[in-house]
Each structure stands twice: as C-alpha cells, then as structure tokens.
Amino acid sequence: MEPTANPRERRHRYGMVIDLDRCTGCGACTVACSVENNVPPPPERSTERTGVVWIRVSEAQDPRPAGARSVFVPVPCQQCDDPPCEKVCPQRAVELDPKTGIVAQVAVRCLGCRYCMAACPYHARSFNWFRPEWPDGTAALLNPDVSVRQRGTVEKCSFCAGRLQAAKAKAAAAGSREIDPADYVPACVEACPSRAIVFGDLEDPSSEVARLARESESFRLLPALGTRPKVLYRSVEPWVRASLSQPEVSRG
C-alpha cells in the first residue's frame, strides 16, 4: 500500500462562548452532560466535593453593596490552549489535541494521582472516588460512544468528543474529511433551554463563536494565569466582567 500524499487535516480550535446574561442556573447542561458522557450518579455517601461533574454551575453575586442580582456561571473544562494539567501528568494521560484544540483525558491511562486536579485553576476535573454504579438497568441506556471510566481515575469535559468522532465517521461515510458543523454540538450546548452557549470553531473567523469571542463583552476566567482557555464568557453587565475576569487581590 502506498502512503497517501501527506493528508494534513485542517486545524480546528473548538471553543464556546457562554452568555451569562442568558444562563438561569437551571442545571440542564449538567444533566445533559452526565447523560451524554455516562457520568455515574453520585452515591449516597458522596459530598459536593467527591461527586463527578463535568460542567458545574455556580452562582456569582453582584459584589456591590446594593447589588442583589446574580449570574450563574457554568464551568466546564476550559479547554486551555496552554493547559496546566497536561504538564503535570506523569502518565501522559492528558493531551492537547493539536487538530481540534480539545484537551483529552484518557481515562485508561490515568493513574489517579490527581496532580492535574491540583494544577487546574478552574476546578474542572473530578476524581472517581467511588465505583461507578448505575441503578436498576440504566446501565443498558448508557451512551455507546463514550467509555465508562473506572474508580480511581480522573475525568473531565471532553467537549463531547464522542459526538465529534461520530460526526467524523458520518462525514467519512460521505467521503469527506471535514465534518458538518451541525453534526458536532456538545450536549450542554444542545440542552441549554435559554441558548446561552454558542459552540464552534474559533479558528474559523466567520463562525458565530469566533465573532462573539472577539467582542468586548467577552472575557475569560482568570486570564492572568495565561492558560488561554477556549471557553469564554460574556455579559453586558460590567460588574460581571469585572468580578469574574479581573478578580481583585484579597481584600483582607
């Protein structure tokens, strides 16, 4: 078989922009994510620190004295362009995919040392403290495109890589190396009832997500750390941008 002439694939940088003015904190993203990615339900004895969650929604309140409003901030893996978790993994179980920009977490390689959890400034990773168990026959309803992880491994958001693989397979069947963007939409984006999350290829300047990412209302979490996340947030409210993107140094 002769090797094909260097079929270098087009580079993508998948990312999302989350509109905090739309998010109502309903948790649909978390639920849809757990269903899509076979995240096990937390056992009774787990706490909010030991359950597994790939996209967590937190509340951030207006810090001004008279402020009563809140925004809800969904935090999935920020898919950094310079991921701190990748550097510390002794197993090379974390890999920044150069073709998609997705930070992969390969569960079967993971030792469970949790260095990556300490390194991640966004608290976006979870450790499987318990043996994953699905009640009462629901294991048959798991998504076949995402493998079930084991106890003792770390996991996190993969931008629904299983859906990307399925979209690639579909495109390949039609003879194309490029997927139809409509075929690759992460579960949280699809599930959000208020359409707060826009997903797409940041590398494609004409995409909606790239356009939103360039706007002045968009910002990243903890930009000072230089991790360059591909998950951006946006809000028209100056207080939201100020308190989330430029956190004050301790006020004592």
Binding site: E95, K99, I102, A104, V106, D145, A161, A166, A172, A173
Partner: protein, 195 residues
C-alpha cells in the same frame, strides 16, 4: 561414585521446561476457545449475497458499521427448518422467537476504543481483508479465542504469541493502528480513536 551433573546440564534442566512452558503451554492456557452459537460458512453465503463484503456488512448513512446482519436478514432465506442441523438451530432458537444471534466477534476492539469503519473504507479505501484477513472465504465460523485474563479476543493481539506479523491483518493492537497511520503520514491524537 555418584554422578555430578555438569553446570550447563543443570542450567538447561531449568531452562528447557521454562521455555517449553512459556512458548508452548502458556499460549494454550492463556486463551480459551468459546464456540460460536451457530455454525456459519461465509463461502456458502457469498453466492447468495454477492461476492462483496458490504452485501451483508454495510456502512450505515451515519458512518457506523452495521456489523453482522440482524436475524430478520437470516429469516429472509431461513424461515423454515431443513437443510442442515445448523439451519434448524437457527430457525428454532432465533428466527422463530425473533431473538438476535449472540455471535462472538473476534475483531472487536476493547471498550475504550472508537473504531469507525467509515474513514478506513470510504477515505483510505482499504480492503476489508487488510485488517480482517480472508474471512469471506472461510467455510466455517472460527471459534472465539478469549483471553482468560483480559477477556479480549485473540485477534487483538494476533495469532503469534510474539506478535510476529505474517500477514497485514495479524494483530489489532494500538501499535498496529499507529504503524499504519504513520505509514500513511497521518497525525494522530488520543481522541482520534479513544472514547
């Protein structure tokens, strides 16, 4: 006087059984043969279904491999008993009750692998036999060789215990995938194949 063994003989006395155990006995013990639920001849069916593999094992429109035909496809020809004990067993056990035949898949990858057939068939234009060997010409279904430790099929490791590749299709481990991808000059990343 008593016979004293020369050192090489003592050494060989340990070496030989160990080599025999490692090379001959161990591969036999490691795999157990699980018979297929029904006898099946690709050769016999090739005439009825056409000579290409995708007559029965087709890619779906979503690029997923349809795998083995469902029992309705069998029922198309084998609606009634007769012909051979295998056909009787098929009709009695599966066609009449409408139950799927629990075939054992020798070429199945482990849980954490997403192997799409579509890019390999539609884009790389690989022959089925490149990875599966001359399955289509087999006259009877091979028994499933199951690794007693890992539970995976022997075909993943390959027939040779030292992974000597006599044919292109011997072995389906990650190293085999990567070798071929390198030859084709493709970049690979974990998420290309791992789910």
């Amino acid at each position: 006087m008593n016979l004293k063994l020369p050192a090489p003989v003592s050494f060989a006395a340990g070496l030989a059984p160990a080599l025999a155990a490692g090379w001959l006995l161990f591969p036999r013990l490691l795999y157990e043969e699980v018979p297929q639920p029904l006898p099946f001849s690709h050769e016999a069916h090739a005439e009825a279904a056409g000579t290409t593999c995708d007559g029965c094992h087709a890619l779906g429109p979503d690029g997923r491999f349809a795998g083995v035909p469902r029992v309705e496809a069998c029922a198309g020809c084998h609606a009634e008993k007769g012909g051979s004990p295998g056909v009787d067993a098929l009709v009695e056990g599966y066609v009449t009750p409408g139950r799927e035949v629990p075939w054992l898949f020798a070429a199945r990858q482990p849980d954490n692998v997403f192997f799409p057939h579509a890019p390999h068939l539609a884009l790389a234009k690989l022959e089925c036999a490149r990875c599966h060997g001359p399955q289509g010409k087999s006259a009877e279904a091979r028994p499933f060789a199951r690794n007693r430790i890992s539970g995976e099929s022997r075909d993943v490791w390959g027939p040779s215990i030292v992974r000597r590749k006599a044919n292109a299709w011997d072995g389906m481990k990650m190293a085999d995938c990567i070798r071929c991808h390198r030859e084709a000059g493709r970049e690979s990343a974990c998420l290309d194949c791992h789910k």
